[in-house]
């Protein structure tokens, strides 16, 4: 389960990187389109989200929405479940922290459509989420490395279950 936890944690961190990348890619494409004399109104943006766009980088907006609203939350829920069985003390806390930051991140992203300042916090929270997910994966990996040496002795014994609230 530790491996699953580690993969999921790094997957969340990796998807946050993808989120940042596709968003800036889309905004850059939009900027060039406008610089070249293109005009954007609500109709243009909604058609872009529906699949018809005057600037191809708008796909980044669609990907950002799909990843943020579906892929990352699903990964975060699975991470929490995996944390219960990771056999690492405190893993559940990291799983829960990542899930809560994902929820906050989605809320800030949606709220940014109404209040731009909350969109700025969405960017800041992305760094917190990346750090939390990366640290969770790194910590479990560190436990794995530490336990790899005496593992010859312990491998036949019961798997320690230390991943739960004490």
């Amino acid at each position: 389960m530790r491996v699953v936890f580690r993969i999921l944690a790094f997957a969340v961190a990796g998807m946050v990187v993808v989120q940042a990348a596709v968003m800036v890619w889309a905004v850059a494409g939009l900027g060039i389109f406008v610089e070249d004399g293109g005009v954007v109104d609500s109709a243009t943006m909604e058609q872009a989200l529906a699949g018809d766009s005057p600037f191809p980088e708008s796909v980044g907006l669609v990907l950002h929405g799909m990843n943020g609203m579906t892929v990352i939350p699903v990964l975060a829920v699975l991470l929490l479940v995996a944390s219960f069985f990771a056999g690492v003390r405190g893993a559940w806390r990291w799983g829960l922290a990542v899930l809560l930051l994902v929820i906050l991140q989605a809320a800030l992203g949606l709220a940014g459509h109404s209040v731009p300042f909350l969109g700025a916090l969405h960017g800041v929270n992305a760094l917190l989420l990346f750090s939390a997910a990366f640290y969770a994966g790194w910590r479990v990996a560190a436990v794995d490395r530490a336990s790899a040496r005496p593992a010859v002795v312990e491998a036949s014994g019961p798997v320690p279950a230390e991943g739960l609230p004490s």
Partner: protein, 514 residues
């Protein structure tokens, strides 16, 4: 078992229990969100009768009716115009899967009607019996035609799975209705509409007023309209290109100096489009097919046309021989002027015309104080599952599709509706078969000409008070015309007491109206 290992065992048990609770809850929500294979709209949601003096309907089930709206006696198929007699306007529209050419010779996969997209503009005169035969030659998902904004009888509303089955390849379907109201309308597929409309199954409808009829615009407007040039201007984006009447550029309307053009803007895309005029003042003559009462001349202001909405602009070609430009979002334009006259493009004015206070007050013919019921339509968004898909999903009155309200009314009632948008995004709300008069927005009462709509842009955080007369029995969609939003469940229905439908929706059928 030693005492030392007990906490470990307990922890392990607790881990399994917590994990099972999380996974089990999600699995339950996932499973219950999946649509039934076959279902009727009258069985899927819950009846919402609203409040008011006649809020309760007799002989009603409380929820989840079986086989229709309480007291169902007629089906949507019965709700037709007289079927005999020759049509005044008869057209056959043949739908095909075909490549669409956009600028630079590029081709897109799309659909055509009679070999072109947009399809032919259908012209009728008020009172005409219109007969359109839809032939599906090669649209594999099946198709239909919906008459957007025309208050047709329910049987010909063209909604797959609600008022008919989608017309399969090789099939035909005939729509017959009397064009009772003059104005600017459009037609489009209401089967897999988020894709079929985008890819070309649409066209304009223009209904001219009956000769000798009243002109509500006032004497000056009547004078200008007498020899005005009529310019249908259906705006649609094909792939990357916004077009007007299929032209990715300027549509030229040749008009002599001092004469007027009636530019009928139709927004067939999924988001609102601002329209403004450079080089001349203009009047907003009609909204969603209904004339504005005595529209004043304005300049330096934009008209926001919602997705699905229409705006008729009366523009007089400048007396000095120059042209005026009707900017359609600043992407394409209608040029109004003599042959060869040029007009410079202009930027969108900062001001936006507010129809709430535009035009002269006049009786709307509807007294909201007589409203028999008051229906809430609250749009929000919440996390959860939608047909098995996790994400943030639209809700209507707190529920996710298909568990959305079936607004239930009786024929002849005046109905008030409060449309409140808390969802974080704007929604162009479209009620089929009826026109709504706007009473107030965010508690600010309407003070201009009666503002009748069928496609109303409800911005994030806005609340609209509207009213309508329940004078067209049937089962009618009341949905967001940002069509991807409709596929995501922003759909409700208005049903008349005693009406049911034999048509079914769901993965086990070929009907996918959104």
């Amino acid at each position: 078992m030693t005492t030392a290992s007990r906490p470990r065992v307990l922890r392990r048990v607790l881990a399994v229990v917590v994990a099972a609770a999380v996974v089990g809850t999600l699995a339950f929500l996932w499973q219950t969100s999946r649509f039934p294979a076959r279902f009727s709209v009258t069985e899927a949601g819950h009846f919402e009768r609203g409040s008011g003096p006649r809020g309760a309907l007799p002989s009603g089930h409380d929820h989840h009716g079986s086989g229709g709206v309480p007291g169902a006696a007629v089906t949507v198929d019965d709700l037709t115009e007289p079927l005999d007699g020759p049509a005044d306007v008869a057209r056959t529209l043949t739908a095909r899967t075909a490549p669409i050419e956009v600028a630079d010779g590029a081709e897109l996969d799309g659909y055509t009607l009679n070999g072109s997209t947009p399809g032919p503009t259908i012209h009728a005169t008020q009172g005409d019996l219109v007969e359109v035969t839809l032939v599906n030659e090669s649209v594999t998902g099946g198709t239909t035609l919906h008459w957007h904004g025309i208050d047709v009888p329910n049987a010909v509303d063209g909604v797959a799975g609600v008022t008919q089955d989608a017309v399969p390849v090789g099939g035909t379907h005939t729509y017959r209705f009397v064009a009772e109201d003059a104005g600017t309308y459009w037609y489009h597929s209401h089967q897999i509409s988020h894709e079929q409309v985008r890819k070309g199954l649409l066209g304009a409808v223009v209904v001219d007023p009956a000769p000798g009829g009243p002109v509500v615009g006032g004497r000056e407007v009547a004078e200008l309209l007498r020899d005005a040039v009529d310019v249908p201007a259906l705006v649609h984006q094909y792939g990357p290109e916004r077009t007007v009447q299929g032209v990715a550029g300027d549509l030229v309307a040749e008009v002599e100096p001092g004469r007027a053009a009636r530019v009928r803007v139709i927004n067939s895309d999924n988001g609102a489009m601002p329209v403004w005029v450079g080089g001349a003042p203009f009047r907003l003559l009609a909204i969603d097919g209904t004339d504005v009462h005595q529209p004043p001349e304005v300049r330096g202001t934009a008209v926001l046309v919602p997705a699905g909405g229409r705006a008729d602009l009366l523009v007089v070609a400048p007396a000095d021989g120059a042209a005026a430009r009707v900017e359609l979002g600043g992407v394409v334009a209608v040029v109004v002027g003599p042959a060869g006259a040029a007009a410079e493009a202009t930027r969108r004015p900062e001001a936006t015309l507010d129809p709430l206070g535009y035009g002269a007050q006049a009786p709307s013919g509807l007294d909201p104080r007589e409203a028999a019921r008051h229906l809430p339509y609250v749009i929000d968004r919440q996390p959860g599952f939608f047909d098995g898909k996790p994400g943030m999903h639209w809700t209507v009155n707190g529920r996710t599709y298909p568990d959305v309200p079936m607004f239930t009314v009786r024929t002849g009632e005046v109905v008030r509706m409060t449309i409140e948008n808390r969802s974080g995004q704007a929604h162009p709300m479209h009620l089929h078969g009826h026109h709504l008069v706007v009473l107030a927005r965010d508690d600010v009462r309407a003070t201009g000409s009666p503002w009748w709509v069928d496609s109303l842009e409800v911005g994030d955080g806005e609340t609209y008070e509207v009213a309508f007369v329940a004078d067209n029995p049937g089962i009618w969609m009341d949905h967001c015309h940002n069509l991807p939003h409709a596929t995501e469940g922003l759909v409700a229905h208005l049903a008349y007491q005693g009406v049911t439908t034999p048509y079914l929706l769901g993965h086990g059928t070929d009907n996918v109206p959104e």
